[in-house]
């Protein structure tokens, strides 16, 4: 069976720093894949390349047989016009297009539309699937009314699916954090994806909420949607993921089943940052906000927990700033 998403040799440079360095992996239909790695390992940057937000320096991303990275003619390169053209949507695939192709994503730090109601947040995601034109909106034609009704019904369907049971007319800012996370997943699902990218969906959730989230992710998988998640909570990853890709310093250091990963010496070293003597944690890793060694050891060790909480990390959009 062919892969849904193929990432080959993906590289992203910020100035002199390689945020992603030769990353290759693939996602098969209907599987749950976890991408893990210490903070600053380039996970979110990779996500951003895959979903079209960043333009990778090199490499290819192929989703359902369609390439997300566009070839840029050398001529444009030499004229230095390529950035301008790309910002207008030429020689690149815009994230909105990637979404229309069937890849949805969530963001590391919640990015709901704060001044829209819960229902409208989800409706917004159906933008591409809605048959509504300018004139039909102006004139409120029957077609428009039907489309709006269908849109509302579909949105409610997704809200019910994720188990949102509060008032759909509330503004998202009024919801507790856990509920917002759920709305964000409903919103991503409403774009009708084949592949769902979740960026740290469990960040800031408590134990019960995490359990609910895992159940939800399985339910999504059962719909036939492949799920790729970035997650720091090892317990959750080990329990949920069918396959795990481990990144460190933008490079892929391991790819395998949870069992394989647990046993991989490279992974243990990357996480613990210790040599055989158990010497001090490498200070670069501390600076990049590496996770507490004890917590990781515990998490990898028993695999069940959820005891670890994410520690302060750099925000996704600041990754490129660290020079």
């Amino acid at each position: 069976m062919s892969a849904l998403l193929e990432v080959t040799d993906l590289t992203l440079r910020f100035g002199g720093v390689k945020a992603v360095d030769g990353l290759s992996f693939e996602v098969r239909e209907g599987e749950i894949l976890a991408v893990i790695g210490p903070n600053g390992a380039g996970k979110t940057s990779a996500f951003n390349c895959i979903s079209g937000f960043y333009l990778p320096t090199s490499g290819s991303v192929v989703f359902q047989g369609r390439s997300i990275v566009r070839e840029v003619p050398r001529l444009w390169h030499s004229l230095r016009l390529v950035h301008l053209l790309q910002s207008f949507g030429f020689y690149r695939v815009l994230p909105s297009r990637v979404t229309k192709w069937g890849m949805a994503r969530t963001f590391q730090n919640l990015r709901l539309f704060r001044e829209l109601s819960v229902l409208d947040n989800v409706k917004t995601a159906m933008h591409a699937n809605l048959r509504e034109g300018f004139w039909s909106t102006l004139l409120h034609t029957p077609g428009y009314r039907r489309a709006e009704a269908a849109c509302a019904r579909e949105a409610r369907g997704w809200l019910d699916f994720v188990g949102f049971d509060d008032d759909e007319e509330l503004y998202v800012g009024q919801l507790p954090y856990g509920e917002q996370r759920r709305v964000e997943i409903a919103r991503a699902l409403a774009t009708s994806p084949k592949l769902l990218l979740l960026d740290e969906p469990a960040a800031g959730l408590n134990f019960n909420e995490k359990q609910a989230l895992m159940a939800l992710i399985r339910k999504v998988r059962d719909l036939g949607v492949a799920v790729v998640l970035i997650e720091h909570d090892m317990g959750m990853v080990m329990e949920l993921a069918e396959r795990i890709v481990v990144l460190n310093y933008g490079r892929e250091i391991a790819d395998g089943t949870p069992e394989e990963i647990k046993a991989d010496p490279l992974v243990i070293e990357a996480y613990l940052g210790v040599d055989d003597d158990g010497a001090a944690v490498d200070d670069t890793r501390l600076r990049t906000g590496a996770v507490s060694a004890d917590a990781i050891a515990a998490a990898i060790g028993d695999g069940a927990g959820g005891a670890s909480t994410p520690l302060p990390g750099t925000r996704a959009d600041q990754e490129g700033d660290v020079r």
Binding site: F14, G15, F53, H83, S87, D321
Partner: protein
């Protein structure tokens, strides 16, 4: 030709002084301080008010100018700090749009507040610089122009020193790079922002006084156009970059000088705004601005 260049440098040094404040404030809190041009106007009026309340008029002394300059700088600096405290600080976590609109409100308040106090008519500035001229390489240079350029250059040097060499300057650069990080490192962000507003406003105030002394006429709307031009200059140089602001100011002055000579004075503003748009379209980071990473 050489004359056009010299004219451009004169105008450009005004633009540069005002652009510096724009750029500093933008660099540190990413706010387009619309009211900045009006601080320039305020500087001129502070000078006017001080001098005329001492009954001075038609004076040509440079020491007196320096005293008034200093006084105006302190006053406008404090006003700038006050504006930040009252109007901008409470909105620091609000959407950009809110702060921008507030800045427009502040600009209006300053302009029409001054209009209510001093009236709508232009006023003659009480200090006039000697403008006996001499020719150098086919360029007519007046003494007042020289004084002007020297003061502007001195102020910029002082600023460069502050930013590059002092603790405050380091703190400013740190905040500009990473506000949260700087806070974690124990930088008092509020204080540094106040300092930036003080310095930026003081420079604009200085430019205002110098404009008064050089041109001789001040009015309550004099800050509007120069505010726009200074912003254009800041963008051309690379907003957030101090040397960029200086370079952009001079460059814009030159561009305008030649543009007005070629296309006629009535098209001068069209020319510079068109330039702003071109720059933002093709090189939004400006000449010296850091490359902005294409990010989400």
């Amino acid at each position: 030709m050489m004359q056009l260049i010299w004219n451009g440098i004169i105008v450009g040094s005004f633009y540069a002084l005002v652009a510096l404040g724009y750029s500093m404030v933008y660099g540190i809190i990413k706010l387009l301080n619309f009211a900045h041009g009006d601080i320039y106007m305020l500087g001129a009026f502070v000078g006017f008010f001080t001098l005329s309340s001492f009954g001075i008029s038609n004076e040509t002394s440079i020491p007196l100018l320096l005293v008034v300059l200093l006084l105006s700088m302190v006053t406008t600096g404090l006003i700038g700090v006050g504006i930040e405290r009252i109007a901008y600080r409470p909105l620091r976590r609000s959407p950009r749009l809110a702060v921008l609109i507030t800045a427009i409100g502040v600009s209006f308040t300053l302009e029409y507040g001054v209009r209510q106090i001093f009236g709508p008519n232009p006023e003659a500035f009480p200090i006039r610089l000697e403008s006996s001229g001499f020719e150098v390489a086919g360029v007519r240079v007046t003494a007042s122009q020289l004084v002007l350029v020297i003061i502007a250059a001195a102020l910029m040097l002082v600023l460069a020193h502050i930013v590059e060499r002092t603790r405050q300057g380091r703190a400013m650069r740190a905040i500009a790079l990473d506000p949260q990080g700087a806070q974690l490192m124990g930088v008092n962000v509020d204080r540094v922002i106040s300092t930036v507003f003080f310095i930026g406003s003081a420079l604009a105030g200085a430019a205002g006084v110098m404009a008064g002394a050089y041109y001789g006429s001040i009015d309550f709307l004099m800050g509007f156009i120069i505010g726009l031009k200074a912003f254009t200059a800041a963008v051309i140089g690379g907003i957030g970059n101090l040397y960029g602001a200086m370079l952009g100011g001079l460059l814009l002055g030159l561009l305008e000088s030649f543009g007005a000579a070629w296309f006629g004075g009535e098209w001068r503003d069209v020319f510079s705004f068109a330039f702003l748009i071109l720059f933002l379209t093709f090189k939004p980071t400006g000449l010296l601005g850091a490359r902005v990473v294409e990010r989400m």
